[in-house]
C-alpha cells in the first residue's frame, strides 16, 4: 500500500523524525486561513498529494507568499490532472493538497530504506546529494552511494549511523548535533521495521539553516501482507484505481492495461504468460487478472464484471488450468456469470487440466456465445482475431 506524502510524514513524525510544520490537507472548499495559521508565517508551499514522481516539474508544488496566492494555488491544483513524466498523457487527478511552511535549508541529501531481495535484508541507502536519480547514480558512480544492512531484529546500530555521518559529511564538532543525527537515522530504521514498510524514502533529506535534519519529502510503501498488524493504517488506503481496489476486496488481483482483450486467468504466473501470448499473437491485453486458486461462482462473476467495466474490452479470453479447481465447476461458473452480466462481447474459453473435457462439453451445450478451445495458442489467436475483427497471421 502506497501512502501519500502527508500520510508518510504523519508516520515519520510519530517516530520523532522531523518534518516541516504543516497546516494539514485540503480537499475542497475548506477555509485555507486556518491551515495557514497552523503553518506559521509565510512563505508557504502548496503540494499536490498524488502518487507519482516529478510533481515539482509538472507544476504540482507551488510556492506562495500571501494568503491570496495560497488560495489561488489551492484552487488551481484541486481537481487538476497533473501530467508528469511517470503518469502518461492522461495525467493523475489531484484530490488533496498539503499546505506546508517552507523551510530554509543549507543542503539536500537522500536516504531510503528498502528490502534487498538478493541479500534478504532491509538496506539503508544514503547519498550526499539530494534530488538525484538513484538508479542512474547506481550505474554511473556506485561508490557515491552508502549502503548499510539493517538487522531485522535490533535495527540500525549506533556505529552504523555514525559511519553514515562521516560518509555524508554530516559529522560535526558539536556532539549534541551528532547525537541527534545518529538518532534520526536510527529512528528511520525503527519506523521501517515497526510499520512493516517495503519502502521508506526521504528525498530530499535536508539540513535546515538551524542544522537540523528534516524530511522535506517522504514516500512510504507498506507491506500489504502485514496490514493485519496495523489496523490503524488501513484507513490510509488510497492508491490504485477504484476497480483495482474493488477487485482486491473480492480476493482478485487486477491491473488495468491499455489493450482491448480482457483476460481472466487462474494463477499469477499463468495470467502473465497469457498476456504475453496475446501480445505475441498480435493483440493487446486489457488487463492482468488472477482470479485466485479456489475461484468460485461469485468470484468468476465479479471478475467478469470488473473486466467489463473497462469499456475498451472487445473480447474476453478465459484461461483456466484446473489443478485443484475442477474445470466443469469453473464452466458452470462461467455460464452463470455470462447470463448474470448479460455478456455482449465475444468470449473465448480455454480449459485444461482437471475435468477439462466435461467443462468444455458444458460450455458447448450451453448454447451461449462462447468459443471453447482446448489449445491455449489457438484460444489466444481466436481472441485476437475477434478483437481485431480480422484473422491474424499465425506466429511460430
Amino acid at each position: 500500500m502506497k501512502l501519500e506524502e502527508f500520510q508518510a510524514k504523519e508516520l515519520l513524525a510519530r517516530y520523532q523524525i522531523p518534518v516541516p510544520p504543516n497546516g494539514g490537507v485540503l480537499t475542497q472548499g475548506e477555509d485555507i486561513s486556518n491551515a495557514l495559521r497552523r503553518c506559521g508565517p509565510a512563505p508557504w508551499v502548496i503540494k499536490a498529494q498524488v502518487q507519482t514522481g516529478g510533481r515539482g516539474k509538472a507544476g504540482g508544488i507551488l510556492l506562495v507568499k500571501t494568503p491570496a496566492q495560497a488560495r489561488e494555488a489551492v484552487q488551481s491544483l484541486l481537481g487538476k490532472k497533473l501530467v508528469t513524466a511517470q503518469t502518461g498523457a492522461e495525467g493523475i487527478l489531484v484530490r488533496r493538497v498539503l499546505v506546508e511552511k517552507t523551510v530554509e535549508i543549507k543542503r539536500e541529501l537522500y536516504t531510503s530504506i528498502a528490502i534487498d531481495r538478493k541479500k534478504g535484508m532491509p538496506i539503508l541507502i544514503a547519498i550526499a546529494k539530494g534530488g538525484v536519480e538513484v538508479e542512474e547514480l547506481a550505474q554511473s558512480s556506485p561508490e557515491s552511494i552508502a549502503k548499510l544492512e539493517i538487522d531485522p531484529m535490533s535495527g540500525l546500530e549506533t556505529y552504523q549511523a555514525r559511519s553514515l555521518l562521516f560518509t555524508l559529511g554530516l559529522y560535526s564538532t558539536d556532539s549534541k548535533l551528532n547525537q541527534e543525527r545518529i538518532q534520526f537515522f536510527k529512528n528511520c530504521a525503527q519506523a521501517f521495521l515497526n510499520l512493516d514498510c517495503s519502502l521508506l524514502e526521504i528525498n530530499p533529506l535536508a539540513v535546515t539553516s538551524e542544522d537540523q535534519l528534516i524530511a522535506l519529502d517522504a514516500k512510504i510503501i507498506l507491506d500489504d501482507n502485514a496490514l493485519f498488524r496495523h489496523p490503524e493504517l488501513k484507513i490510509m488506503e488510497s492508491g490504485g484505481s477504484a476497480l483495482e481496489q474493488q477487485a482486491k476486496r473480492a480476493g482478485i488481483s487486477y491491473i488495468a492495461l491499455k489493450g482491448n482483450i480482457g483476460c481472466l486467468v487462474n494463477g499469477a504466473g499463468l495470467a502473465m504468460a497469457t498476456m504475453d501470448l496475446i501480445k505475441q499473437c498480435g493483440g493487446d491485453p486489457a488487463n492482468f487478472l488472477d482470479v485466485g486458486g479456489g475461484a468460485n461462482l461469485a468470484q468468476v462473476t465479479k471478475a467478469f464484471k470488473i473486466i467489463l467495466s473497462d469499456k475498451n474490452v472487445k473480447t474476453i479470453l478465459v484461461n483456466i488450468f484446473g489443478g485443484i479447481m475442477k474445470c466443469d465447476l469453473v464452466a458452470e461458473g462461467i455460464i452463470a456469470a455470462v447470463k448474470e452480466v448479460n455478456l455482449t462481447v465475444p468470449l473465448v474459453v480455454r480449459l485444461e487440466g482437471n475435468r477439462a473435457e466435461e467443462g468444455l462439453r458444458l460450455l458447448t451445450q450451453s448454447r451461449l456465445n462462447i468459443v471453447s478451445i482446448k489449445e491455449l495458442k489457438d484460444a489466444a489467436q481466436k481472441a485476437v482475431e475477434l478483437a481485431c475483427g480480422v484473422p491474424t497471421p499465425t506466429f511460430s
Binding site: 534478504g120 501482507n225 502485514a226 502473465m272 504468460a273 498476456m275 504475453d276 482437471n354
Partner: protein, 304 residues
C-alpha cells in the same frame, strides 16, 4: 533418484485441521505420500482419518520420525510454524501459505542461518508456493498429481528437473512435458514471494548433482534477479542444459502482478526482456512462448 523427497520421505502437516490442510493431506496421501502425522495445537490425540494429530512439532517428530513438513498455517502464524519445524530438526519444510509479511520471512531466514550453523542445512521451500513433487513417489503440496509423469519415452534417462516461481504456469509446463512423454524427476515450486526459503540457484544445483536428471527447466518471471543468478551458476558450473521460460513481457513497471515478488522495481534490469537477453547470453535455451515450453525441452533432449 530425485531431489529433496522420495517414496521414503516421512511427512507431517502443520495446520492439518484447517480446510486446506486437511484437504491436501488427504490428496497427498492418496497420491502415495507417506503422511505420518499432523500438528494442530490443542487437537493433539485426535486423528484425521487414520493420521495422528499432535500438539507440537516436537511431539510429532518424536513419535513418527518425520523428516519433512508441509505448512498450511494461516499467514499471521506461518513464520512461527516454520521456526517450530526448523528448531525441531525437520530438514525439508514446504510452506504453502500465501501472504506472510516480508519482515517475518527476513527474520525467519536469519534464524535459519543460526540453526544451520549448529545442525546443518534446512531446505525451506516457499512460502506462497505449490510445493514439491517427485512423480509417482511423493507429493508435498497442492499441485495436481495426475499431470505429472516420471519416465521419459525417448530413453531411460531423459527426465527433466523443473523449478518455478509460479503455480498454474508450472502445471501448464509440466502438462506439456507429460503430453510429449517427457518425465520429470522432481518439480519444485519455490514460490512467488520476494523473500524465499530456497532460491532458483540452490535448486538448480541439486538437479545438477542428481544423476537421474538430464536437464533442468526453470520457469521465471519479472522482478528480482534470481533468474540471472541461476544463469550465472549455469554458465560457470553446470554440465546439464538449462531451459527457461520467463513470464511477464507485457507487465507494466511498478505494478505487483499477483505474486508479491512479481514487480519490476529495479528499473529495466528486472523486466522479462532483460532477463531473457541475459539468460540467452549465458547459453540458456529460451522457450519463446508459454505454449512452446514442452517442445523447446523436447528439441534440446533430441539434440543430445
Amino acid at each position: 533418484m530425485s531431489i529433496l523427497i522420495d517414496k521414503n520421505t516421512r511427512v507431517i502437516t502443520q495446520g492439518i485441521t484447517g480446510e486446506a490442510g486437511s484437504y491436501h493431506t488427504g490428496a497427498c496421501k492418496e497420491y502415495g505420500t507417506k503422511i505420518v502425522g499432523g500438528v494442530s495445537p490443542g487437537k493433539g490425540g485426535t486423528f484425521l482419518e487414520d493420521v495422528p494429530i499432535f500438539n507440537t512439532v516436537r511431539e510429532a517428530v518424536q513419535k513418527t520420525g518425520a523428516e519433512a513438513s508441509m505448512i498450511y498455517v494461516p499467514a499471521p502464524f506461518a513464520a512461527d510454524a516454520i521456526l517450530e519445524a526448523a528448531f525441531t530438526g525437520v530438514k525439508v519444510i514446504v510452506c504453502i501459505t500465501e501472504g506472510i509479511p516480508v519482515l517475518d520471512m527476513i527474520r525467519v531466514k536469519e534464524k535459519l542461518k543460526q540453526i544451520e550453523l549448529n545442525s546443518g542445512k534446512v531446505w525451506l521451500i516457499g512460502p506462497n508456493c505449490p510445493g514439491i513433487i517427485t512423480p509417482e513417489e511423493c507429493k508435498i503440496g497442492i499441485m495436481p498429481g495426475s499431470i505429472h509423469r516420471r519416465t521419459s519415452a525417448l530413453r531411460t534417462k531423459g527426465q527433466v528437473g523443473v523449478v518455478s516461481r509460479s503455480g498454474t504456469l508450472t502445471y501448464e509446463a509440466v502438462w506439456q512435458l507429460t503430453q510429449l512423454e517427457i518425465g520429470q524427476t522432481t518439480v519444485v515450486g519455490i514460490g512467488g514471494d520476494p523473500i524465499l526459503g530456497s532460491g532458483f540457484t540452490e535448486i538448480v544445483e541439486l538437479f545438477e548433482k542428481d544423476p537421474e536428471t538430464e536437464m533442468v527447466l526453470l520457469i521465471g518471471e519479472i522482478g528480482g534477479s534470481q533468474e540471472e543468478e541461476a544463469a550465472l551458476y549455469f554458465k560457470e558450473h553446470m554440465t546439464k542444459p538449462l531451459i527457461s521460460f520467463i513470464a511477464g513481457k507485457t507487465a507494466p513497471e511498478g505494478k505487483r502482478m499477483g505474486h508479491a515478488g512479481a514487480i519490476i522495481e529495479g528499473g529495466s534490469k528486472e523486466t522479462a526482456q532483460s532477463k531473457i537477453t541475459f539468460l540467452k547470453s549465458m547459453g540458456v535455451h529460451i522457450a519463446p512462448s508459454p505454449t512452446e515450453i514442452g517442445v523447446t525441452v523436447q528439441k534440446v533432449l533430441k539434440s543430445r
